[in-house]
Structure formats: structure tokens, C-alpha cells
């Protein structure tokens, strides 16, 4: 019985370490191939459009409602001790430091991270990745590098937009619906938020961009087992990335700031 437990724990631990090793290996390979010609700028731009531009709508939508609900909740909380005027500052601070980068990353992960895993997974099971290798084209350089850089470059931009529209949403609820003085709202916001808060959010988003594209690529690239395998890879990519984003935001906040 005890041997079986050790066996199971050991097997799980080995599987985890092998997965982690695979992800790290793909990361280092991608970094090495980034600086090896030919540089495929067109692929990068295509991926930036897919990950960035095409995620804009969902990021704006979730940003507006995050700001609105944040304003509404903080209003009800602060009203209990007459601190409604702090609402603008709290909304901006929460969005810049935490909500903006995390919500953006989760949304982009759901939309683009899953699509990356599914696309690369399909390419793997239909031998399209083997075909690339047979044409003397390195699949990591051709498929993974542009996706990772697109994620790293576009997530900060999307996060900035998410924070901005979140503040607009919060302003709408606070000033228009709940009749807080606009001057007070803006004043508290400007006083409470510092440049370092925004930097914190943006730095986090760079890491999140790397995490969601790297895991999506890794899972897709190593897919096996036909259509079922593609489905499994996609689910695993989204779940693992989401968990890593949530753990990552805690670790980054406690380590870096």
C-alpha cells in the first residue's frame, strides 16, 4: 500500500518535472531561435494582429464591466464609513495593479491561448509540423517564436487599454450613476495612483503574455492522439495557463513590489 502511494506520488512528480523541463526547453529554444536568421517579421505581425487586435473587443468589454462593478462594490463598502470619495482612487489602483493585467491575461488566454494550442495541436496530428521539418524549416522558429513575442508585446498594450476603459467604466458608475463629484473622483484617483502602480501592472502583463503563449505553444506542439488529443491539449493549455497567471500575480507582487 505504502509502496503504491510512493509510486503514484513519484510518477506524478516525474511527470510534472518532465512537463516543466519541456516548457523551459521550449522557452530557451525560442530565445535562441529569436536571434537566428531568417527573421520572420510577417509572421510576428500576423500573430500580433491575432493575439492583440482581435482580442481588443473582449478586453475592452471586460475592462469596462470590471471598472463598473469595482466602482459599485467599493461604493457600497466605503459608504458604511463615509469614504465614498476614495472610490476613484481605489478603482484605478485595483485596475492598475491587479485587475487589469489579470483580467486581460485570462481573457486573452481563453481566446488566443486556446487557439494557439488547438492550431499547433492540429498541425502536429495532421503532420504539418513534420512537413515543416522536412522542408528544412525549424518549427520552433517558424511557429513558436512569433507567437511568444506577439504575446509579450501585445499583452502590455491590451492591459493598458483594459485599465483605461476600466477607469472610464468606474467613472461612469461613480460620477454619472452614483452622483459622486467628478472633481473628487479624479482628484483621489490622481493622488492615490503612482507611476510604479502602472509599471507593476505592465510588468506583470509581460510575464502573463509569455506564460500564456509559451504554455499554449508547448501543449499544442506536443499534442498526440488525434482529435481527442487536440481537445485535451487545448483544455490543459487554458487550465494550466490560468492557474499559472493567478499564482504568478501573487508571486510577482510579493517578490518584485
Amino acid at each position: 500500500m505504502i509502496t503504491r502511494i510512493f509510486f503514484m506520488v513519484g510518477r506524478r512528480a516525474l511527470a510534472f518535472l518532465s512537463e516543466l523541463g519541456g516548457i523551459l526547453l521550449m522557452f530557451f529554444q525560442s530565445m535562441a531561435w529569436t536571434f537566428t536568421p531568417p527573421f520572420r517579421l510577417r509572421n510576428l505581425i500576423k500573430q500580433m494582429e491575432f493575439i492583440g487586435v482581435k482580442s481588443l473587443f473582449i478586453v475592452v468589454l471586460t475592462g469596462v464591466f470590471s471598472g463598473m462593478v469595482l466602482a459599485l462594490q467599493s461604493y457600497h463598502g466605503f459608504r458604511k464609513f463615509g469614504g465614498e470619495s476614495l472610490m476613484g482612487g481605489i478603482v484605478a489602483l485595483s485596475l492598475a495593479r491587479e485587475m487589469g493585467p489579470v483580467m486581460t491575461a485570462l481573457m486573452v488566454n481563453a481566446r488566443a491561448g486556446s487557439a494557439i494550442a488547438a492550431e499547433l495541436g492540429t498541425m502536429r496530428v495532421t503532420e504539418q509540423i513534420d512537413a515543416l521539418q522536412m522542408m528544412a524549416i525549424n518549427p520552433v522558429q517558424y511557429l513558436v517564436v512569433p507567437r511568444i513575442w506577439a504575446g509579450v508585446l501585445m499583452l502590455p498594450l491590451l492591459t493598458a487599454i483594459n485599465i483605461l476603459v476600466g477607469i472610464i467604466g468606474g467613472y461612469f458608475v461613480g460620477v454619472i450613476l452614483l452622483k459622486i463629484n467628478p472633481g473628487v473622483f479624479m482628484d483621489k484617483m490622481i493622488n492615490m495612483i503612482e507611476l510604479s502602480d502602472l509599471v507593476q501592472g505592465i510588468v506583470k502583463s509581460v510575464f502573463f503574455g509569455l506564460i500564456l503563449t509559451l504554455i499554449g505553444c508547448y501543449k499544442g506542439y506536443n499534442t498526440y492522439g488525434g482529435a481527442e488529443g487536440v481537445g485535451r491539449a487545448t483544455t490543459e493549455a487554458v487550465v494550466i495557463s490560468s492557474v499559472c497567471i493567478l499564482i504568478g500575480t501573487y508571486v510577482l507582487t510579493s517578490l518584485l513590489f
Partner: protein, 246 residues
Amino acid sequence: MIRLINIHKSFRSQQVLRDLSLTIPSGQTTVIIGRSGGGKSVLLKHIMGLIRPDSGEIWIDDQEINQLKQRDLYRVRKRFGMLFQEGALFDSMSVGENVAFPIREHKKMTHLELEKAVSEKLALVGLSGIEKKMPSELSGGMRKRVALARAMALDPDIMLFDEPTTGLDPILTAAIDHLIIETQKRFQMTCVVISHDIQSVFRIAHNIVMLFEGKIIEGGTPEVFRQSTNKMVQDFLLGQYSENSV
């Protein structure tokens, strides 16, 4: 010439290739036959350098590909063309873009020259004028022919075919066989074909080898093969079931 010397390959506890040695002559078509799961595709992937053997050597002319660095291996791979079982066309690209892809990656050409090269390759497989179509709009046979055009885009001197006629009707099978024979003759290519289709095998092969449980159990010209006394070979050729062949 392609030479495989004493190749061993296992996946975990399963031994797929056992001390396999094989010589594939240049400028001829060699067909590898054998039962499903017998290691044929693994063998083909060793020749391409996609899988490295546990032990043994693989020589492409005077180069041992297991010793090559990735950059040199890619240089060798430019000499190869490969027709995958399902074509492996890139879904996100049109037919024209698929055929143009390897040329664009490895050769410097003007847009007009590239267009001309693509239409020439498509004409070669009897599919002129479909450059704008997407792979999803094509039938199985057309996809394979487009894949063949793409495989020949860099004018390879070694062509590998992984079950080129599986899933095709007899007329399309004959058409693909005809294409293999014609292109092999015309460009004097070395062709390595994996096939289960016995009629097709005898139509295209200069040499046949049979793989069973990771070993070559018979090899020679189609005539030698027909007269083989090996029970396994005869069962396979006649498509008959016996206790030994399972």
C-alpha cells in the same frame, strides 16, 4: 544511395526496429511493405532524420545524418521531398501558397518567377489553375497531388512517400502510381515508398523490402518477391490469414 546499418529503435519497452540494415539504391523506386504497426513509418522518419536511432548508422550518400548538426541536417533535408499520408497541406494557406512555401523559404525568386514555378509544379501533377483554392475545398486525391507538387517544389533528388494511395479509389490510385512512375523516370529520383496496396507496389517498385517485427525478412526485385518461399511474404501478397502472420 541511402544506407541504414544495424538500426535499433525502441519506444519505452517496445522494440520497433531490431538490428535493421537496408540499402536503398539511387535512381530507383524502393517500396517498403509490412503489416500495420510493423515499424515502416518509424523507418521512414529515421531516413528523414526526424527520429534518431538508439544505435546504428544512417548514411545519405557520404553523410552519416546522426552525426550532423541541425544546420547541416537541414541542408541534407533540402534534398528530400516527402508526401505525407494525408498530404499535410497547411490549412491556413491556399494551394498556390502551399506549393510556393518551400521555394519562398529557400530560393530567391521574383514574384513572377515564383508564380511560374508554382504553376509548373501544379501542371506536373495535372492540377493547373487551382492556385487560389484552399486545401479544404479539394478532394482527397487532389490534396495528395497538391502535396506531391509541394514536395517536388525544390526539385529533390530523394522522394519519400508515406502510403500515397491509402484511402483512394482504384482509378485515383492508378493515377497517383502513374505520377510516381513518371516523376521518378523524368527526374531520375530515388523514391522510397511505404505501401500496403499490393497492386500498386508491383506497378511502381524496382525493389521491394518487407518489414516484419522491426526486421527485414525479404528483399529484392518484384520478380524475386513473387517467387519468395517465405510464408509471411506469401500471406501478405495474397492477403491471406494464417496463424503465423498474426
